[in-house]
Symmetry: C2
Subunit: 227 residues, 2 copies
């Protein structure tokens, strides 16, 4: 490992805007990569890509995500305005085989153009939701907007949704509730534009002070489904 | 891919507590894994593991994280109370070589016991911060608490911090600001207990509607530093 570089807040401020954006986006660590499916009142679909979905709780089942400061609908923020109008959206995991298409969704298409069509994803409908899900995604989640906060420092919005339905291939669902998203080929992200496959190390047992090191509950390499 | 299983919110409610926790924790996609370093007023260090750090903005540089509903200090929530008392904390990426130690940090040690000592991490100090960083971590970040929200549905806290300093090995920092956390061996997580290495696919160029498919900016496999 090479010499460490230390930057303070002043160094960060002086950094060119895009360079700082790439660095700070890498500092949270690896990120999820998800497609957000919505529809407007005229039935025109929208698909956007986000790397900020975060688990907020399991009871009730809540996921949060960060959206950029909304601008007027004519100028953009279609995901945000569609969620405000219809109250619902889908979160769809991106498989490693579709990172190029998923990334292309971030291009600024006009509202009249569905990104599903522009990029080649297939909309599907579940459980009476108006918001379309992505057929090519192995994990599809339907959410209802339950809360929203404005981040005062930068006017971004933190949107909180409650899970109304979820679907995934049955084989990936372990008896203890673990969903093996790696076996489904789900991608991970770094910074603004880095896409990664994953390679399992292990699952570790619930940690207790008196047991150290903790047991390797399931050694993926040895075939964890038999573990 | 096997047949899809669809669960609605009622199915989720009926699921046993721990099983639902494992499933819902997998539904955001891959997650970061970070050690949070803090100190109390008596100088006793605390280290906790979180998988909920999320990028909130680059200007100013903000990271958020979700902490469980705080209980009285005597009963736990040491990370939360230490941040409230001292106003600062560190976020430290977990390398794949240290996932067993990092996971063990989640065991319920008493406040008088430093997890650094219990588990074998080395505290280091930077830029006048009282909160210790983790020497074994390749990416260490010092943050000052600037905001906090209570999630009304479950009383969890969303803590917002502004980056005051950051350090990482210089070789991993590309000229355009991209920090190559995979080359630093940083781990990713799935659900509550799955640890993963990553394997780069590509970095993709800024997407434009008229250019499709987008250019592969840097093909990692071909040696991206020459790209």
């Amino acid at each position: 490992m090479s010499a460490f570089k230390t930057l303070n807040d002043h160094d960060l401020e002086l950094m060119p805007h895009r360079k700082r954006g790439r660095l700070v986006n890498a500092l949270s660590g690896f990120k999820s990569v998800n497609l957000i499916g919505t529809t407007n009142d005229d039935g025109i679909h929208n698909l956007s890509i986000v790397s900020s979905v975060v688990h907020l709780g399991s009871d009730p089942a809540l996921l949060g995500m960060v959206l950029r400061p909304p601008v007027d609908r004519e100028r953009g923020s279609h995901t945000y305005w569609n969620i405000r109008e219809t109250g619902c959206y889908t979160i769809n995991h991106v498989p490693c085989t579709h990172t190029v298409q998923a990334h292309q969704v971030s291009a600024r298409y006009p509202e009249s153009k569905s990104e599903f069509e522009a990029v080649g994803f297939t909309p599907i409908y579940r459980c009476g939701f108006d918001a379309p899900a992505v057929k090519e995604s192995p994990v599809r989640i339907g959410l209802e907007r339950v809360d929203e906060w404005e981040i005062p420092q930068n006017r971004c919005r933190f949107v909180v949704g409650q899970i109304r339905w979820v679907e995934f291939p049955e084989d990936a669902f372990a008896a203890d509730g673990y969903l093996d998203i790696e076996s489904l080929g789900v991608a991970a992200m770094s910074s603004l534009d880095g896409y990664h496959r994953t390679d399992k190390i292990h699952r570790l047992a619930y940690a207790k002070p008196e047991v150290y090191p903790p047991g390797v509950m399931q050694d993926f390499k040895a075939g964890w489904r038999d573990g």
